[in-house]
């Protein structure tokens, strides 16, 4: 109920200003901005006179533009044709909207986030390009194909303990098993308790 009283007390509803940051100076800027909008509605002659004064103050600007138009007339003409075509088809609008996504990304991200993502990309890239991994990945397709072929040949034969023991004598099987057992050993977390712990 005290918060209801707050709303009564405040000149603009009291607590509303809590939601967003806005300094009194910014409020002032916005108010003056509206005033500027009002000035934009002044008679056209006044606006032209104002523009003319600006041209006098910076005579080089239109000259540069005129020179650029003259020197690149053909290119600019073709570019305008493309632009007009894109505008008619709606592509220009789509392009503008897609470009606004870049601004969105820039707005949403911070230095810390970019650094964090770059660090993770680097970490993943380091793993992906590790020679041990690339060597294993390179050997995997041929190993898979050979295993599928072996499995197809053996599909009708019933596995027995003797056949398993016989396969263990194969040096390649022995090395493969040794590799897998060692891999399992090294994949084990060093501190089992570290992963723990949903306690209640």
């Amino acid at each position: 109920m005290s918060q209801q009283r707050d709303r009564r007390d405040g000149p603009t509803g009291g607590v509303d200003v809590q939601i967003f940051a806005q300094t009194p100076e910014q409020e002032g800027q916005q108010t003056s901005g509206q005033g500027t909008g009002g000035a934009a509605g002044a008679p056209a002659g006044a606006a032209r006179a104002s523009a003319g004064a600006a041209d006098d103050a910076h005579p080089a600007v239109p000259e540069v533009v005129t020179q650029a138009l003259t020197e690149n007339a053909a290119s600019i003409g073709r570019a305008l044709q493309v632009l007009a075509s894109m505008e008619r088809s709606g592509s220009l609008q789509e392009l503008s909207e897609i470009l606004s996504l870049l601004r969105l990304l820039k707005s949403a991200l911070t230095d810390d986030m970019v650094i964090g993502m770059a660090r993770r990309v680097e970490g993943l890239a380091a793993v992906a390009t590790d020679p041990a991994l690339t060597d294993l990945v390179t050997r995997l397709p041929s190993a898979l194909r050979a295993a599928e072929a072996d499995a197809a040949r053996a599909a009708t034969a019933r596995p027995s303990v003797i056949s398993l023991v016989r396969q263990l004598r194969d040096p390649k099987v022995y090395r493969g098993l040794a590799f897998l057992l060692s891999l399992v050993k090294h994949l084990a977390p060093e501190e089992p308790k570290a992963r723990s712990s949903t306690s209640v």
């Binding site: 709303r7 509803g13 967003f20 910014q26 909207e97 707005s107 501190e191 723990s196 949903t198 209640v200």
Partner: protein, 379 residues
């Protein structure tokens, strides 16, 4: 060993815990630092999805994940609703009776709605700020055939300050898509003399509401609701009849914070740059619980988590804490009909909404799906 205790399993608490665990991996491995996250539920919920759930555009499985899956393996998860914080003894006491010592504490416990503070609202009003509320509103909207729908901002500040506008825009699109717009009068009310507390957003939103034929009522401070007559009565002495009321209730910080003496006027007094709780050097606050003049939005908690994690890591290593929060806020704004815009602003720079587009709407939908990477601290 230094104990960092983080209270709250929302975006702010989760990101802080993950960033700290990653940064302090050597100290954690050497048992010099322990990070505990204490939360009241084993699941993490992505609350912005409730807006979509109200329109049947998302399912619970899309906005729920086990909290454990989102946390760095080195973070200890404790599911134990907090009963109180003893700042003198540097302890968090759970409802289980267990106490958790801390060297540094991060309060990221969020805000909750309290519709019961407005007479008649709980009985007669709908809302979409809780999962239950969004599901109930979804059913109401499916059955609604015509009449007056009022979106009324009753309590400020509230979570996600642009969500009521989004609700109004999406309702307009919802009824248009079903060919029922002419049978529905949409009304949007706000307590002050414009349609949003932020002048720039209000200036953008007012013509958007008008263009959709959504009537606005400002200086509209709800005093009570008569559930029988279906009428809103205001402090200003006006009344407004409704067939469906979507009322944004008053919000509050979790009650254990007030019981622990850590609130002032309902929220945790927090330094706007360092995010330390005023008068408590070893306690930080972020997200919805603070009294800062920024949005109670997930993006704010996320940006603040970066600051708190950096400063805590520095202090734990005996270095100066230099990171400062600048008020950065980022919010998507769904404008209905599968379009959206966004705003970005901080303490010094006001927002400037860009024209709404489907691309930005898609970016929002994509973000909803990839939010879990944010919670993990990947983005």
């Amino acid at each position: 060993m230094d104990d960092v205790v983080i209270v709250g399993g929302g975006v702010g608490g989760t990101v802080t815990a993950n960033l700290l665990a990653e940064e302090l991996a050597p100290e954690i491995a050497a048992s010099k630092v322990r990070i505990r996250l204490i939360t009241d539920r084993p699941e993490h919920i992505y609350k912005p999805a409730f807006l979509y759930a109200a329109f049947g555009r998302t399912a619970p499985r899309a906005y729920r994940r086990p909290q454990r899956e989102l946390l760095h393996p080195a973070v200890e998860l404790v599911v134990d609703p907090v009963n109180r914080i003893d700042a003198g003894q540097r302890q968090v006491i759970g409802e289980s009776g267990k106490s958790y010592d801390y060297s540094y504490l991060v309060v990221a416990a969020g805000a909750r709605v309290v519709p019961q503070r407005t007479p008649g609202l709980a009985e007669a009003g709908e809302q979409f700020y809780t999962e239950e509320g969004a599901q109930r509103l979804y059913k109401k909207l499916q059955d609604f055939t015509g009449g007056t729908v009022v979106v009324s901002v009753i309590g400020v500040p509230h979570m996600c300050p642009v969500a009521p506008l989004e609700m109004a825009f999406m309702l307009d699109a919802f009824f248009r898509e079903r060919g029922r717009r002419d049978q529905v009068e949409l009304v949007y009310t706000y307590p002050i003399n414009r349609v949003h507390s932020n002048p720039a957003i209000a200036a953008w939103a007012a013509p958007e509401l008008a263009a959709r034929g959504i009537r606005t009522e400002t200086f509209f401070n709800v005093e009570r609701i008569d559930p029988q007559r279906k009428v809103i009565e205001t402090i200003e002495g006006t009344t407004l009849a409704f067939d469906l009321l979507i009322g944004i209730p008053e919000h509050e910080a979790p009650p254990f914070l007030e019981a622990s003496g850590l609130t002032d006027a309902g929220w945790v007094p927090t330094d706007r740059h360092t995010l330390q709780v005023k008068g408590h050097d070893r306690i930080y606050a972020l997200g919805d619980v603070t009294d800062l003049p920024v949005s109670k939005a997930g993006s704010v908690a996320h940006y603040q988590a970066n600051v708190v994690a950096q400063n805590l890591a520095a202090r734990l290593r005996g270095r100066p804490a230099l990171a400062r929060y600048n008020g950065k806020t980022f919010c998507f704004i769904e404008t209905g009909a599968d379009k959206a815009t966004y705003v970005e602003f901080d303490y010094e720079n006001p927002p400037q909404p860009v024209p709404a587009s489907r691309w930005i709407h898609w970016a929002k939908l994509a973000y909803n799906q990839t939010y879990w990477m944010t919670a993990r601290g990947v983005v």
